[in-house]
Symmetry: C2
Subunit: 419 residues, 2 copies
């Protein structure tokens, strides 16, 4: 006898290993046919549920699904779409339950960050209130590493490895030419409120004279004069200055250095261009020749340089989600727990969604040096294991052998379109 069906959705900004979590979940469900029927994936995440655009993952053979382990992006589509509070938009939650009911969906797996854990939590509350039996499990995912209740987030280790590697590489480039060419190089990385990604660049060097010479964290106030003084000092002492800047750094009055005035669907300010803004400052106030790079989506899709630790954890949280649901847990998220020993170990344990939802985890102050521009040994000890290990994708004709799933044939709809 087969169990009830499951619904899986990818949410928010994708990562280079989010598909590995999907793979872990689907395998975890396939291994428990008494508990789980078909695993449906939402076409474009939660919008796929609202629009009744469901992908039947049982149509995919194992050797097709295997590509999820090394293909970046969101294989089923993701979205930037936040369900409002139940009071403001009860209809949307009811529509979700209606679609779930029409397809005998008894399990809701939501793979995302803070906002998604909040949504999963709310859906579980409403289903219970409506008397609809629904197991809601969150699966952590965010490159920002800012989720509470988990030691780190799947997706972060790989972007950390990319940023540290790229900073090291660009550093070698600039060091070799700074005598007659670029003296200041600025690399902009993601991180709206939390500086974890920028911090990871610090792993590229354990000595002050090696790049990156300065890291700009959104947790600290940006002071242009202090920044320029330190740039000058680095150029004087080392011949050049490599700066890694979080997109979210802001002045004392709260203005983002890179504010563009545009807001996304979650109401967050759309940032971009902190590197050109800093470069302009450097050029005008110091006269040093500069260059800048903006990694943008490259950093979060760079599956070719993903961390093996990150990949393993992404798979593990997917598998654990299926196991928790089978064990009858409700409203939880598999969290990564770091072991106490000297060498890095980790395990997966359930955390309550209510403890995760809408809490952002920032860099602790003692992870940042007193001058505010580098990471401490405590930060290194935390960050280093997360970038450990390589897991290159297979290559064909010189390029990674990524593969698109065929998402065109959706499950037949049973309901009228939503209003």
């Amino acid at each position: 006898m087969s169990g009830r069906n499951a619904f899986y959705a990818q949410s928010g900004g994708v990562t280079s290993v989010i598909n590995a979590s999907a793979w872990g979940l689907i395998q975890g469900c396939r291994a428990r046919p008494d508990t789980f029927g078909t695993v449906y994936a939402g076409r474009e995440g939660i919008i796929g549920a609202l629009d009744e655009n469901l992908i039947d993952t049982s149509k995919f053979l194992d050797d097709t699904l295997e590509h999820l382990l090394w293909t970046p992006g969101g294989a089923f589509g993701s979205c930037r779409y936040k369900l409002k509070g139940i009071e403001q938009n009860r209809t949307e939650y009811e529509r979700l339950i209606e679609v779930f009911d029409a397809h005998d969906i008894g399990y809701f797996f939501y793979n995302g960050g803070n906002d998604s854990m909040d949504t999963a939590h709310k859906v579980s509350l409403l289903a219970s209130e409506m008397g609809y039996p629904l197991t809601c499990i969150g699966i952590p995912k965010t490159i920002d590493n800012d989720l509470a209740a988990t030691d780190n987030c799947p997706g972060f280790g790989s972007v950390a490895k990319y940023v540290a590697t790229s900073t090291a590489e660009a550093g070698y480039d600039i060091a070799s030419m700074c005598g007659s060419s670029t003296k200041v190089f600025i690399m902009e990385v993601m991180g709206r409120h939390a500086g974890w990604i920028a911090a990871a660049a610090g792993l590229a060097s354990e000595r002050a004279e090696f790049p990156p010479h300065m890291i700009l964290f959104p947790e600290l106030t940006f002071d242009a004069d202090d920044f320029l003084n330190e740039v000058d000092r680095c150029v004087a002492d080392y011949g050049y200055c490599v700066v890694v800047a979080s997109e979210g750094i802001a002045y004392a009055d709260g203005t983002f250095v890179a504010e563009s005035g545009v807001k996304d669907a979650f109401g967050h300010a759309q940032l971009g261009g902190v590197a050109p803004a800093l470069a302009k400052l450097v050029g005008e106030r110091t006269g040093h020749k500069y260059h800048y790079a903006i990694a943008d989506y490259l950093q979060r899709s760079a599956r070719h340089i993903a961390s093996k630790t990150d990949l393993d954890q992404a798979i593990a949280v997917g598998e654990a989600a299926a196991r928790y649901a089978a064990e009858g847990l409700q409203g939880v998220m598999p969290a990564i727990i770091r072991g106490d020993g000297d060498s890095y170990t980790w395990s997966i344990q359930p955390a309550d969604l209510s403890d995760v939802a809408n809490h952002e985890k920032f860099m602790p102050r003692d992870f940042i040096t007193d001058n505010g521009y580098a990471i401490t040994q405590a930060a290194r000890d935390y960050l280093q294991p997360l970038i450990e290990g390589e897991c290159f994708p297979p290559f064909k004709d010189g390029l990674p052998e990524y593969q698109r799933l065929d998402l065109e044939r959706l499950v037949a709809r049973k309901l009228a379109p939503r209003a």
Copy 2:
């Protein structure tokens, strides 16, 4: 008996495999002790010769030098410094010869692009005129792939592999979210006059609906209206549009789309910011949500995703340079010659520096599709073998095990400082 000493210098923008050419040359010289004495490298390229800052490469053991095979940047330092014409600045050429004479240097190996091949050619002419016996050999290097007389340039294959891989990866990211998020993504790559690097992005997709959807080549005139129409068409047809833009694209009147007004030491306009300029156009004229990335130095230092073909060729031109010098050739550069067969083969043959110097090789028009926004099968056939093969560096603690050479102890000077 030991032969006369050699001088090696890295010139201009560095690549992820220029050090592999240095390794090939040094090994080639070490293998011929009857011909070559010590190989000195210039600290910061040709400036090292002018300032008599010489690095004695015989001090480095083989297992230290081996790191040159996988460390990006210019291990001995490079520079942006172009010797003027002999008529304008004969003193500088004479100083070079003076330094060479003081250190019994009979071989000059110059590892660079167009400007450097020109300099090597001029030095060989002047040495001959002055009656100073000096063998001058160029070693090709440039990510731009614009050198004449060689089928391709060491350094290009690796940046091509990086750009194609990154475009593919970012494409997966954007495809998964375009329904509710970014619709237009622009990646800016290097390429001042020649579009080879941008063209390489085209290898990421063989079908029009897959990214990149548009490539902007500096060989063609940029037409904003036509560009925006095509962006709109892609968004309508595919849901999103991935654009790869050469930094050097220009309007019909010759104005660079990204002109910043600053010139470098070679008198070339310093470009930067074509991506934000295009993004601004897209935002203002189409209203589509956009993101952009600027790969900048990341692309030319990304040794972690270097092409094995490129690495092999970089080593081979270094080794061939030593061999040519030993064989008594003068004023030549080892060129890469493509075999005629269906499958890719290559060999190294000498090309006259006078045939290489100051000629730029552009993308042939038949490598670009009629609409001007994609590459043809002829371009694919040319480009694909150059990104073939992987040669990951060794990793330690999660990062590539790059290493700096100790360049502090220079050879004792024998001359007074130059005026």
